[in-house]
């Protein structure tokens, strides 16, 4: 069967913050650039970001990129690469000011500068006291960012392919990336994008968990495509959980609710945070609160028929305060928990929020893999940025507002690297003869299989397994069982059946293809988490507890290293050292992480 081939200099998969930022670099350099997206660009998940983007502009008080770098290294629990972190923090001002020039309507101070507000973990003078570093556009930062960058791309003649789903990465016999296969949803037609540069900006995969703050679109397609093409996935055991997502729905209830006096209670109405954090109580840090909640649930003090959530109680607050100080919270609670929080407490659970790991890249946005003795060799023609990539700046734990910064900085540098690599106008490498084979056979299998697994049920089984076995608080035996369970789910995911066999607008088929990506991410997460026998950042194990030798359970002697998971090589895991050498300053030395 002959498959249409579209030739471009570059294809970018993803039109969220990272993809749009990369596209600007390529199109403005005069390269013929295609951007693929499952949805209209401004409906990408970046639209949900409200908190802001970090940059040490120092508009409201003194600040410095070096302080920001220190906070990021510390936040990462020293698993972040210090060269990449220095690069990101130094570039922050430049990319934020550029965004301003693209027309981003940042909040302003009285004298017209970008207004900055404080955000958790961002401090001045190497961890001394909170600093105002976050730049926002009211409560629509992500939305405004996407609009500004989309307009800029339209001007630069970027070609958008909207409601197109990339299916697989195409690599030639030398391993170089020469494009992707993609399906136009409207026609069901599979097409080859033949390119000299391919950039992944596909966002996160938070939907591997049952409870997730992420929109349904976060199915980890970039990670699935990379994994199937033999690219390892880095540090997939690290996921950030937010303590208060609405049980069942996942929708985020902001920290502000506890700030206004909200109290967490278990099945006997006890204010259990008093036992875990006698001073800070319900206002303790995200990870402490999440773990306390998980412990209450595990020990049988959860609420409801399944004893699987706790309650966030604001019934003692003045209704006027709730309406005035917590806009939107009552509405979320009524819509998704079916309770009016003025009268009844809100059911909440620790909820998956952000993926720290991803496709391994260096700080120039080039995808790097181990080869021979070298642990970070660039894959020719392949780049990645944003939540799907692991540069690694977030290490074991991300600081709020650093991911919008990540996607600006590394979206841009991936674009710049591609422009640099394409200079001199080298020809397209040849497509392998079987370029579309893998994708076509996956689609054929779905179209022809009878009596296979149901997609919805398989996804639910995966999400339950991830939530129960690799949640916010991890146990050695549960992780072991989790590995066998997720491998069982994987078998089902390889044998899925869809009832609708139509070519045109077949959303069931698209969902099945997404599920094939989700399972790659889930498996990588479970196996990497089982293997890492320490606690670090967001990865907290019951059997790696806080001791004088290993404060917080972190074991730098054995585990100061990145995980690389190779699904195509029998689920093999290897490790590579953390880069402790910044570009220009001294190493930020190992220390116990405490706030």
């Amino acid at each position: 069967m002959s498959i249409p081939v579209l030739k471009f200099d570059a294809v970018i998969v993803g039109a969220g913050g990272a993809g749009l930022r990369s596209a600007i670099q390529l199109s403005e350099a005069g390269l013929k650039t295609a951007v693929l997206s499952k949805v209209f660009p401004t409906r990408s998940h970046t639209v949900a970001a409200q908190g802001g983007v970090a940059a040490s502009l120092g508009n409201s008080e003194e600040d410095h990129w070096h302080w920001h770098m220190y906070d990021t290294v510390k936040g990462s629990d020293w698993l972040g690469d210090q060269d990449a972190i220095e690069f990101m923090c130094r570039k922050a001002n430049e990319v934020v000011v550029e965004l301003e020039h693209y027309g981003m309507p940042f909040d302003r101070t009285d004298n017209g500068k970008i207004y900055q507000r404080p955000f958790g973990g961002h401090m001045s003078n190497f961890g001394e006291k909170p600093v105002r570093r976050s730049c926002a556009a009211a409560d629509r930062t992500g939305h405004a960012m996407l609009h500004a960058m989309y307009q800029r791309n339209v001007k630069a003649n970027t070609q958008f392919f909207v409601e197109w789903m990339a299916l697989d990465l195409i690599r030639d016999s030398e391993g170089a990336v020469v494009g992707v296969t993609a399906m136009e949803m409207e026609t069901g037609q599979v097409v080859i994008f033949h390119t000299r540069a391919t950039i992944f900006a596909t966002g996160g995969a938070g939907r591997i968990y049952y409870s997730s703050t992420n929109a349904f679109i976060n199915t980890g397609d970039g990670l699935g495509m990379a994994a199937r093409a033999g690219i390892p996935l880095e540090d997939m055991e690290f996921w950030q959980f937010h303590p208060t997502g609405v049980a069942g729905a996942g929708v985020l209830i902001t920290e502000g609710v506890r700030g206004e006096g909200g109290i967490l209670r278990n099945s006997s109405k006890e204010r259990f945070m008093e036992r875990y954090a006698p001073n800070a109580k319900d206002l303790a840090s995200r990870d402490v609160v999440s773990r306390a909640m998980a412990t209450e649930i595990k020990e049988g003090r959860g609420c409801g028929a399944g004893k699987d959530y706790v309650l966030l109680d604001i019934t003692h607050l003045d209704p006027a305060t709730i309406m005035k100080r917590l806009p939107g919270i009552r509405e979320i609670s009524i819509q998704f928990a079916g309770v009016d929080p003025i009268k009844e407490p809100i059911p909440v659970v620790p909820t998956c929020h952000y993926q720290m790991g991803g496709i391994p890249t260096n700080y120039s946005g080039r995808v790097v893999i181990p080869q021979g003795g070298d642990l970070a060799v660039p894959v020719p023609g392949f780049y990645a940025g944003g939540e799907c990539a692991c540069a690694s700046v977030h290490g074991a734990n991300r600081l709020g507002t650093n991911s919008l910064l990540d996607l600006l900085v590394f979206g841009k540098s991936a674009g710049d690297s591609a422009v640099e690599d394409l200079k001199g106008g080298s020809a397209h490498r040849d497509l392998p003869a079987d370029a579309a084979e893998k994708s076509l056979s996956r689609i054929n299998a779905l179209d022809n299989r009878k009596g296979g697994a149901n997609v919805h049920e398989t996804r639910l089984a995966m999400q339950r397994t991830m939530q129960d076995h690799a949640g916010v608080f991890r146990f050695g035996d549960m992780l072991k069982q989790g590995v066998s369970k997720i491998l069982e789910v994987e078998k089902a995911a390889r044998q899925m059946e869809i009832k609708d066999k139509s070519q045109v607008w077949n959303t069931a088929r698209v969902e099945a293809l997404e599920m094939e990506n989700l399972i790659e991410v889930a498996k990588a997460t479970m196996i990497s988490a089982e293997a890492r026998k320490e606690s670090r950042g967001s990865h907290v194990r019951d059997d790696a507890a806080d001791t004088p030798e290993f404060p917080n359970g972190r074991n730098d002697k054995e585990w100061l290293k990145h995980t690389l998971f190779f699904p195509q090589e029998g689920n093999k895991i290897t490790y590579k050292p953390v880069n402790m050498k910044p570009l220009s300053v001294e190493t930020i030395a190992l220390k116990t992480r405490s706030y």
Binding site: K38, V39, T42, R43, S44, H45, T46, V47, A48, R140, H143, E163, M185, E186, S212, T213, N214, A215, F216, I217, A249, G250, V251, L252, P327, G328, E331, I332, Q335, F336, S502, V504, W505, N506, T507, V510
Partner: protein, 80 residues
């Protein structure tokens, strides 16, 4: 609604930028949509074309809808 049009609309309801909107529209597609007449279905499709934040403000009652064609659908989205 033709199968093709429904499937396109379905995709635009189940893959949104905001989880709140994903949940609200998916729920409505499963529960209320089939009971709408052609014109009402068209009105729902128009709502689904809105930007996520604006639509969520309507659904959650933080904003009001003053278009007489769309308002009844918004009311159903709120109740469902």
């Amino acid at each position: 609604m033709l199968r093709e049009d429904y499937e396109r609309l379905r995709w635009r309801c189940i893959r949104r930028g905001l989880l709140e909107v994903d949940l609200a529209l998916t729920r409505f597609l499963d529960q209320g949509f089939a009971g709408l007449d052609d014109e009402e279905q068209q009105a729902f499709a128009e709502l689904a074309d809105m930007e996520d934040h604006d639509l969520w403000h309507l659904i959650s009652g933080q904003a009001e809808c003053d278009d007489p064609r769309l308002a009844p659908i918004v009311a159903m989205l709120r109740k469902s």
